[in-house]
């Protein structure tokens, strides 16, 4: 069944590519449907610097995403995004998002039904090629997988009618699986339910600070309960085409209660700062921290004093808003009981491009 689905999606991808071969104008005139097509490519090369590095030291096609969107009728819009990934030495072509949405049914509201990336936190709401850095911080990789959590369900967004900017997002998804899984999963006892409340503090028409609080819960088929609570902060100052300064940070707490009544807790955060150097260049720095609050020594069952740190520095060259070249030096290490147990220093090169429709400038 999965293979059939993959073949089907591959076929859809080929058809899309053929459509892209047509000129934009001819294509638009031919259909007259408002169909927009956008394709993004994300290529990454990782080079390990120390012996403990897990860098794969090859050029990976990390993601090739095709996105199609158009009004369905006067009420609804439709979105399809599918991506080819390099996963465990195999290129997997999978459906990321397929949903219909409307911002014309309920005043101040948006509705989304189908499969989509859940509207929580910061990174999870953006496609990987739109992230301001190459690799997700450990907290995101651990709680949401390398790319993010998507699922099928219903999401509602409300612009709360208050003087202070307040936005509420709430959703329920099937919860058959969680994270970036390719299995069908099984029926959960409690589906994935989540919400995010955010506020925005404008400093000008080009700068401001957004603060959001998120919650996610799910109980799987075996009775394992998952709870996630997060805080995200994004600050940005723009001057014409240049982002002069970007602050992006998330802190997450995860609690799992197993069917056997064993609780595990983890906490992590990252803080990323980016400074525009010129019209086309920027430098960024990120600090990550992650701690397993319930990790125990396998023999003594005593709590292990453990912590993971990460840091990176990056340089980005962006000739236009449709392409980016990024070089990153990152260092991650894990310590337990005062000893370093893992170290990974690597240099990464990333190439991102977008062809097709103009990308949206999200805050």
């Amino acid at each position: 069944m999965q293979n059939q689905m993959r073949k089907y999606l591959s076929l859809a991808g080929i058809v899309t590519c053929l459509l892209l071969c047509l000129s934009r104008s001819a294509y638009g005139d031919m259909l007259g449907t408002g169909l927009e097509i956008s394709v993004s490519g994300d290529l990454v090369y990782d080079q390990g610097v120390n012996s403990g590095s897990k860098a794969d030291e090859k050029l990976r096609m990390r993601g090739a995403e095709i996105m199609l969107y158009a009004p369905i009728d006067h009420k609804f819009e439709g979105v399809l995004s599918a991506a080819a990934h390099d996963e465990n030495e195999e290129t997997v072509f999978e459906l990321h998002e397929l949903f219909m949405s409307s911002s014309k049914l309920i005043p101040r509201s948006t509705l989304k039904a189908g499969q989509y990336f859940l509207g929580i936190g910061r990174l999870n709401r953006f496609h990987q090629h739109d992230w301001p850095f190459t690799r997700a911080p450990k907290v995101h990789r651990s709680f949401f997988a390398e790319e993010g959590v998507f699922d099928a369900g219903l999401e509602y967004g409300l612009v709360i009618p208050t003087k202070q900017v307040l936005n509420l997002t709430a959703g329920v998804t099937s919860g058959y699986r969680f994270g970036h899984s390719h299995t069908a999963g099984s029926k959960p006892r409690a589906p994935t339910h989540y919400g995010r409340l955010s506020s925005f503090f404008p400093f000008s028409s080009l700068s401001g600070l957004e603060v959001g609080g998120s919650y996610l819960g799910r109980t799987d088929a075996q009775g394992n309960e998952l709870r996630l609570v997060g805080l995200d902060v994004t600050g940005k100052k723009r001057k014409a085409r240049q982002v002069k300064y970007l602050l992006q940070s998330e802190a997450w707490y995860k609690s799992e209660l197993s069917a056997a009544n064993v609780r595990t807790e983890q906490v992590g955060l990252y803080v990323f700062n980016e400074f525009g150097l010129g019209q086309q260049t920027s430098v960024g720095f990120r600090l990550d921290g992650f701690k397993d609050l319930s990790k125990r020594n396998a023999l003594t069952q005593k709590k292990l004093n453990n912590v993971s740190y990460g840091s990176l520095g990056q340089f980005t060259y962006s000739p236009s808003e449709f392409s980016k070249l990024r070089a990153t030096v990152s260092h991650e290490f894990q310590r337990e009981e005062g000893k370093t147990t893992e170290e990974d220093t690597r240099v990464s090169l990333q190439l991102i491009f977008i062809i097709g429709s103009h990308p949206a400038h999200a805050f």
Binding site: S103, R108, R241, P359, H361
Partner: protein, 307 residues
């Protein structure tokens, strides 16, 4: 007796409410479009611009506080011709306000009634830069083109508020007359420097050059939205000198370092000007904006004589 008194009071209150005039709440993307809507809508509209007039409207994020303002608007006016393509559609969708979204009766894309300049022909792709397929969107710096944009404002206002039709039409006629007078005033400023050659950093002044009969020999940018490289700056500076360019115009939002470099290489004076009405600046009206640009250009041109 009490019943009659209360009934009369209630009647008076409701009758008053029925006749109470509620201004249309109009949100615009730029301050220039705000000014245009105010001229046509007059006392029947309350207009707010999302931008302050000091930004480059190409490069704006879909700021969350824009969404709340658009959510309660009766009408949304934008420049169009893909100028706000990166951010306005996202703001509109997130607002959940169907009246002001594309297809709604409060959606007002002023560019659609403008005879746009520089509509690209033939194959269009991004090797040409961040090109606008529907034509140059900076029409507000040409008074005639700006009035053409006002036709869309007029149509949308009439559709939303049919009772105000005569009022809006009358205001539109006044606007047209005022624009004719303004053109004469600006032309008089430019008359002494009319027969010279000019350049622009970005094609923001094409309508200005066209409507006032000024000759533009090109842009400093290599392609729209692409900052010039050192090589491009050197080449275009040589061209500017060989063609005896009198002055170059650049928006204040264009990169200062690059326009300064161009000025020093070419010895051509660069006038960095405001290209929009400013919410918190000295340029509060369209007339002051146009005279500011014309005077700046005339002053810069006269500097060439001294060099």
């Amino acid at each position: 007796m009490h019943f009659k008194f209360i009934s009369l009071v209630l009647l008076a209150v409701f009758a008053g409410q029925a006749h109470a005039f509620k201004k249309l709440n109009v949100v615009t993307t730029t301050t220039d479009i705000q000014w245009l809507v105010e001229q046509i809508g007059g006392a029947r509209v309350s207009v707010h611009s999302l931008l302050n007039g000091t930004e480059d409207p190409h490069y704006i994020d879909a700021m969350p506080h824009f969404v709340g303002k658009v959510a309660k608007a009766d009408m949304f006016c934008l420049v169009g011709l893909d100028l706000e393509l990166g951010w306005a559609p996202k703001v509109l969708v997130r607002s959940g306000n169907k009246q002001v979204q594309h297809g709604g009766k409060g959606y007002c894309e002023t560019g659609k009634t403008v005879k746009a300049l520089q509509v690209p022909k033939g194959k269009i792709d991004r090797t040409l830069g961040d090109v606008h397929p529907s034509g140059n969107p900076h029409f507000h710096l040409g008074p005639n083109a700006f009035v053409q944009g006002g036709e869309t404002v007029l149509q949308v206002l009439q559709g939303l508020d049919p009772d105000g039709t005569k009022y809006y039409l009358s205001n539109f006629e006044v606007l047209k007359k005022n624009m004719v007078a303004l053109k004469k005033k600006v032309s008089a400023i430019l008359e002494p420097v009319k027969n010279k050659k000019y350049m622009e950093y970005h094609k923001e002044f094409s309508y200005f050059f066209s409507e006032f009969g000024l000759s533009s020999v090109g842009t400093i940018e290599a392609a729209p939205g692409v900052p010039p490289s050192a090589g491009r700056l050197a080449r275009v500076s040589v061209q500017a000198r060989s063609k005896k360019v009198a002055a170059a115009l650049a928006a204040k939002t264009s990169p200062r370092r690059l326009t300064k470099k161009f000025g020093s290489l070419s010895k051509v004076p660069v006038a960095r000007v405001s290209v929009s009405i400013e919410k918190r600046g000295k340029i509060k009206t369209y007339e002051s904006l146009m005279t500011h640009i014309a005077q700046s250009l005339a002053n810069a041109s006269s500097q060439t004589k001294r060099m």
